[in-house]
């Protein structure tokens, strides 16, 4: 930005009447009008080259990246300014046409918020791949990384780095693959665009990796640490994508990004495009020094690769490059460079891939019941048609129980939301419906609390079950270890509780003792093997012949004191036997009430593999997985 010395000077004199200093007060209206107009024009022409388009582009990238970062930070449920409030945290995901096109192909509907994508599509049709160069936060990141990595290089090297490469057509094959998987096999239609679509990818990377790291470091959004399984894999991909920019700038954008490929296809008729204003030039190729898209503006420009960075326009010393309606005078190619063979191959692969993956029968009887989906999730086939693996539900879940899935539920399960009750603060909170509220494609529906709990209008239908708790009687303390425990029953949040207990008394190890002497409430034993105080917790009883059982209030190594008021009807003679028993409340699960929230699993004191575990059997979203006849 600089001021030009020469500028046009519009007449500011009032004419016959008055001096220039008193222009406005002493002259008549029409003169005042003329003078005001001249003032504005003077200002306009004085403000000569204050703004270059590349500056605006950089500002735009910084702006959208900051907005994106801010959305990642505020995605915590709450009403403070730095929390969720009404921030439109899904804006980028909705603007992303690949999600819109993908879900339109798999579900044959365009979910309302995805209308934003239509706006982006229309603007791309008119202007070209502006999204890549101006809006995409992942692209901005790549561009910045590429800039950092290559700025010390000399122009000839840079020009080499930014040349067009045939491999840039790979992203089109990736796009065709995804489209085929979504469109053609109508039974096995699956939306896998989320794997490589940059907006879900960068959202995932920030929300499941960078933000939790920031939380651990300085409590950015959460005072307690948040955990995400498989974050290492997210890191690997993210880091790889960023570091590849050191080899070739905007590596991801040029070679991999299916969204860029989609824009390339849509934007090929753009009204305005980058191009040379004259066919002959010095051929210095400085325009390609900073070309972000690798589109070769110096020669036959590949319009579908151009990301509208305008660096060429800025770099050309002779101002021969413009953004104009007529094609570049050095020639242009609008269509992506994909061979028919490549097209057919990727199409066929896509058509085969989805049903091939489904051969594992994970959608049928071989389903993996460890995949517990959030409440409000659609049935699995419908779910996989909508989930773009963005990780918003995981980010917003207040108890941190929603985790990115792995491939144990099938390949399609990768990065989809799966509940892991061992992580986080408490299983799926009863009165919370946050996950469905933030899902951008309604793979997890925005349910109301009454639908979740089965009240009001949904009283006939009942609550949403995401699974059922199953007791592992071999690990459960009262079942297998003779240790009293009812933590699961205490924490069960539904009313009436889905866990109930039945009382039973078991003789403890080495618990058969011989009576030496009985005096009132004190029974002395021959054996002196008891641990003092061990049986005084209130859970232990002394069973005496004749069905008498009394609570033990104290014990020493060789005596037991039973609670006062216990009437010993039949006093055992010296030499008689008594039994030390523990009172156990053994938990049972009422599967008609259990909603699979997982609080019991979270609270179970048996560490590691919990003695009560939730699995997805009994989930109401799927008719096949029901445990009960009636819902």
């Amino acid at each position: 930005m600089y001021w030009k010395k020469n500028y046009r000077h519009f007449d500011r004199s009032p004419g016959e009447s008055g001096r220039s200093g008193e222009i406005y007060s002493k002259t008549d209206f029409s003169t005042r009008l003329r003078l005001a107009r001249n003032d504005i024009l003077n200002f306009y022409y004085r403000v000569n080259v204050i703004m270059k388009i590349v500056h605006v582009r950089r500002i735009s990238q910084v702006f959208f990246f900051s907005v994106f970062l801010w959305f990642c930070i505020v995605s915590t449920v709450g009403d403070k300014f730095w929390q969720l409030r009404g921030w439109p945290i899904n804006l980028f995901l909705w603007l992303d046409p690949l999600s819109a096109v993908g879900t339109a192909l798999t579900t044959h509907t365009l979910y309302r918020p995805l209308l934003w994508a239509l706006a982006v599509i229309i603007l791309t049709i008119i202007f070209g791949r502006f999204f890549c160069g101006w809006v995409c936060p992942f692209g901005a990141l790549h561009q910045f990384a590429g800039f950092l990595g290559n700025r010390k290089k000399l122009p000839p090297q840079k020009i080499q780095l930014n040349r067009y490469r045939k491999a840039q057509s790979i992203k089109y094959f990736i796009l065709i693959l995804f489209i085929a998987m979504a469109a053609f096999p109508s039974i096995a239609a699956t939306l896998q665009t989320g794997l490589l679509d940059p907006i879900p990818l960068v959202t995932r990377s920030f929300n499941l990796l960078l933000v939790p790291l920031a939380d651990r470091a300085f409590g950015l959004t959460s005072a307690t640490a948040r955990f995400y399984e498989g974050a290492w894999f997210v890191l690997a991909i993210f880091l790889a994508a960023i570091l590849l920019n050191l080899i070739i700038p905007r590596f991801y954008c040029r070679f991999i990004c299916p969204l860029g490929a989609l824009f390339g296809v849509i934007g090929r008729f753009a009204i305005w495009r980058i191009g040379k204003k004259q066919s002959e030039c010095v051929d210095c190729k400085l325009c390609e020094k900073s070309c972000e898209g690798g589109c070769e503006p110096a020669g036959n420009i590949k319009i579908s690769e151009c990301v509208l960075c305008f660096n060429c326009l800025d770099d050309c010393r002779h101002r021969l490059i413009g953004y104009q309606t007529r094609p570049s005078l050095a020639g242009e190619t609008t269509n992506p460079d994909i061979s028919r063979r490549g097209f057919v191959l990727s199409l066929a692969s896509g058509i085969i891939a989805a049903p091939a993956v489904r051969l594992s029968n994970k959608m049928g009887s071989n389903w993996y019941d460890g995949v517990i989906r959030p409440p409000g999730a659609l049935a699995e086939e419908e779910f996989l048609k909508r989930c773009i693996k963005c990780g918003q539900c995981m980010r917003v879940c207040p108890t941190n129980v929603i985790q990115p899935g792995g491939i144990e539920g099938g390949l399609e399960n990768l990065w989809t939301p799966v509940l892991n009750n061992r992580i986080g603060s408490s299983g799926c909170q009863l009165n919370c419906t946050a996950c469905g509220q933030v899902c951008p494609t309604s793979a997890v529906r925005p349910i109301t609390l009454s639908e979740k709990l089965g009240t009001d209008n949904f009283a006939q239908v009942g609550p949403i079950r995401i699974g059922t708790a199953f007791l592992d009687q071999g690990r459960c303390l009262p079942w297998a270890m003779d240790k009293p425990c009812i933590v699961c029953e205490e924490n069960c949040p539904v009313s009436p509780k889905a866990i109930y207990t039945q009382e039973c008394f078991n003789t403890v190890r080495n618990g058969i003792l011989t009576v030496k002497k009985i005096a009132e409430n004190l029974i002395e034993t021959v054996e002196e093997t008891l641990t003092a105080g061990r049986f005084a917790t209130g859970d232990y009883y002394c069973a005496i012949e004749g069905n008498q059982r009394f609570k033990i209030v104290a014990n020493t190594e060789n005596s037991i004191e039973i609670s006062p008021g216990g009437q010993l009807e039949k006093i055992p003679a010296a030499g008689g036997r008594i039994q030390l028993q523990v009172r156990l409340q053994r938990p049972y699960i009422d599967i008609e009430r259990c909603i699979g929230c997982g609080v019991c699993e979270h609270e179970c004191p048996v560490s590691g593999k919990k003695a009560i575990r939730v699995c997805a059997a009994g989930e109401t979203r799927s008719t096949d997985h029901r445990l009960l006849l009636k819902r």
Partner: protein, 331 residues
């Protein structure tokens, strides 16, 4: 020359591109509009296929549509009323399953007149069995807790003693229905189970003042068939009552005006809210029954908008005089 040619070619190219742009945008717009889904996916809940309530009505007989009996003993008046309309045999064929829908909405004592009197229910059950019914079902979907309602109103015991089967509402007895041409009853759960197997339907309602709708009589009695959060319909109470009258085609309705609740309806609360009118109305036309009944509250049919709405839909008439009502008295 070449310059101008170039310019022409350029312009043509530009126009063709502009056309492609226009078509693409239009295509994108059209596809979006076709696929547009403002509400998002629904849970694939097994709500069962939607149902339609069967038509329980019997053929019309001129001059035997509505009967008004005066008398203080419900058993006597209802017997007389049904006799005058052709006897229970006209309505109940041998081997029929008869469903009786009384007003059991509140867990109120029968003294308060907010619910159907148990004596009346018992008598109708007996008459049905006498006419040869195979089974009589007494059922309702109350507002308060169903078990306490059937107990405290005395209807549960009275029905049971007369040999009827009482069916309390359960989630699996509700199914979705849509009234053809209805605006409110669209994909709404109704209490369907007990009526699905029935051959005949008899409604028995007390005559009450109602704070919201003006009066609660035989048409309002069908509100008990609605499930879900049916309270929302109170905002458009006249339309819902009219739609209920269109949806439900009963065999016979009985309107009990022996003790009319004249104030503080629909729950009343004090015996002083009741006024003795010693009138009982039996009719095959709900609208006619209600039109006569409202006069006992000091109202005219024109005071109750839902009557006109239902009449306009063709399910009955407010001008009960046209139906040649039978007037009788007992004791």
């Amino acid at each position: 020359m070449t310059d101008r040619n170039d310019k022409k070619i350029e312009r043509r190219q530009f126009l063709s591109r502009a056309a492609k742009v226009g078509i693409s945008i239009a295509a994108a717009g059209v596809i979006s509009a076709r696929l547009y889904d403002s509400r998002g996916p629904k849970a694939a809940v097994d709500a069962g296929a939607p149902v339609t309530l069967p038509d329980f009505s019997v053929p019309h007989k001129d001059g035997q549509t509505i009967c008004i009996v005066k008398g203080s003993d419900r058993k006597a008046t209802v017997t007389k009323a049904i006799e005058s309309l052709g006897g229970m045999e006209r309505f109940v064929t041998k081997g029929d399953i008869v469903a009786i829908k009384p007003n059991v909405a509140f867990a109120s004592s029968p003294l308060l007149g907010a619910t159907t009197h148990p004596e009346l229910v018992a008598e109708v059950v007996r008459l049905a069995y006498k006419a040869g019914a195979k089974q009589v079902i007494v059922t309702d979907n109350p507002i308060n807790d169903p078990a306490s309602c059937f107990t405290l109103t005395g209807i549960g015991r009275a029905a049971g003693d007369a040999g009827a089967k009482v069916i309390l509402p359960r989630p699996d007895l509700f199914r979705h229905t849509t009234l053809a041409g209805g605006r409110l009853i669209v994909n709404w759960p109704i209490f369907y189970g007990p009526f699905a197997k029935a051959d005949k339907l008899i409604g028995i309602a007390p005559l009450k003042h109602h704070h919201r709708s003006g009066a609660s009589m035989t048409m309002k009695n069908w509100y008990g068939l609605l499930g879900g959060r049916r309270n929302v319909f109170h905002q458009d109470i006249n339309t819902i009552i009219a739609e209920l009258a269109i949806m439900v085609k009963p065999t016979l309705v009985i309107l009990d005006g022996t003790e009319v609740m004249v104030t503080n309806g629909p729950t009343g609360g004090s015996v002083s809210d009741l006024k003795r009118a010693d009138t009982l109305i039996a009719s095959t036309d709900c609208i006619a029954a209600d039109s006569f009944g409202c006069t006992l509250l000091g109202l005219k049919p024109s005071d109750l908008p839902y009557l006109a709405k239902a009449q306009n839909a063709g399910v009955g008439t407010t001008d009960y005089q046209l139906l040649k009502p039978i007037f009788a008295a007992v004791g």
